[in-house]
Assembly symmetry: C2
Homo-oligomer: 362 residues x 2
Amino acid sequence: MTEPAAPLPPGSRIGILGGGQLGRMLAIAAARLGMRVHIFAPEEHAPAAEVAAERTRAAYDDAEALAAFARAVDVVTYEFENVPAAALRAIAPHAPVRPGARALEVSQDRLEEKRFLNQIGLRTVPFAAVSSAAELHEALARIGAPAILKTRRFGYDGKGQVRISDPADAEAALAALEGAPAILEAVAPFRRELSVIGARGLDGAVACFDPGENEHRDGILRRTRVPGDIPPAARAEAVLATGRLLNALDYVGVIGVELFETDQGLVVNEFAPRVHNTGHWTIEACVIDQFQQHIRAICGWPIGDGARHSDAEMRNLIGAEADEWREIAADPRAGLHLYGKGAARPGRKMGHVTRLGPRARP
Amino acid sequence: MTEPAAPLPPGSRIGILGGGQLGRMLAIAAARLGMRVHIFAPEEHAPAAEVAAERTRAAYDDAEALAAFARAVDVVTYEFENVPAAALRAIAPHAPVRPGARALEVSQDRLEEKRFLNQIGLRTVPFAAVSSAAELHEALARIGAPAILKTRRFGYDGKGQVRISDPADAEAALAALEGAPAILEAVAPFRRELSVIGARGLDGAVACFDPGENEHRDGILRRTRVPGDIPPAARAEAVLATGRLLNALDYVGVIGVELFETDQGLVVNEFAPRVHNTGHWTIEACVIDQFQQHIRAICGWPIGDGARHSDAEMRNLIGAEADEWREIAADPRAGLHLYGKGAARPGRKMGHVTRLGPRARP
């Protein structure tokens, strides 16, 4: 047992890998606590860099730039889960990385992720590793169709996924993934999808925000409502599952855990080792939101208790929906967030809007 | 009548004169709406510049730098009321300045300010212009002692003020102000000080946040509570006075109006043509806070309605009180703000903390 590290004092330097909207909102939260933010991102236009004191523009495989970045900060975190393992190795000698490498490794591979969840006693849908047509047929025979074939790595927002409705479509599905190692997952006929934004401090303290009910369309989150229509028992179970996961990973920071409520109970779909789109409602509905919570955790500060003062509904503004800013601005109580991105490409998350309601139940 | 200007779209460039904590919180609010912020500030270490996309470091009397800054943005605002008139003249040909020059002129001179308030039918304490010992004695004879002698210009946080308890102290008081043009103000025996954070849009719409009850010590704000113990009639009167002032100034943006509740009713003490320390509680207690509200107004957007979902108490962290961050961070529901300033000099505002409570009354 080592003594817990002293909390990083105000004025400390927070390094963030990634320059998108999550990094932008993390940078704002860090600034609010008097921290100095340093963004590491390869793209020319990084929305997060516009609210940060320092910025390094370099590729995630530039070990020298990563080491210099790490030497210039007191702690490193990230806004996306596909940080290359080599990048972490370049950073690790110079600054702590929080959440740690274990959470990243597990979450980067859908197969490892589901195996890990099962190992720690959390239920998932049935799944099987697939690296050949023979394995796929065997897996389909066991799991049944419809099922979803997914690449094990680098999937997000519905990308890298093919639905197999009939075993006859197996070869075409495999071809669509271009030979990438894959996982076949049973389709869970679920009543609803929910998610929990959890947090774990450096001292091991755990706190979760209330679960939200999510709606997706075309694989992209459209809306999160809190508390939504989630039954109390499912809410409690989801929070307990999140706590178990945080402890099993010896996690530090905020995590986003997606679950399905099925006729057979809750199953964990996946988790993201970072602040999460389904937690944006916390900005308006909580004194300490998910971004503050993450910065507190990675700085070794006590974490907030996840309390919310209001019910909330968050809607994403996808692609051209960002043009609705005029109408949304005309609602005198709508919390509008725009991410400072350039072109509103289809499917691109351009902003979100949160509306609060009085807290209807405890 | 000219058509109201179209609202500035997301991605527009907001210029802010001043690099302190108010500029920092304005910059964060602007970034949330997808705007790009450009800070103009002479000091090397400007807390606002750490959350801004662009920064100009130059003096407020550098007309060339001001003009270049104004050309590089779509609208200019400021975080302090002592912006030199010459600076506004350098900016005006290139970008709109909001709030406008009239509000600045009036608020920069305590004598003009009180005269203006009286002209539009708002009560103040009795006052008199003082530019000589003879005038001071005459004023003391009329207003009585105790009274407060203040410089007409450049006072803040209790600076540039001398209390005169006895007419015999008149000469010493005048000497303390070193010959600066002054105003003698009656001391109002007040039950409480309150303030209203009001806003007026480019379209003339007006909205006020609920009045707060303020506590000062040594001339510096210590605490604001909303709604505090302010009687309903005084709340209504304070809001109406603020609306009248906003309209009379043809104001655009957020204003902070300080009032005293006396045995003879409300009197207006002073106003600041900017976001205001007594409005920091709105960050946690409102979906659209005073900083968002100001950015919306100066961008020609519809303003929020000033609704709050919670009661609130805001406490300033002055000087070494910022060292309390560890204890405050241990409160899992305290909204802590630290401004990223360097040395915690006595009397310096280093941060603040807001705590919410359920809304006790409408």
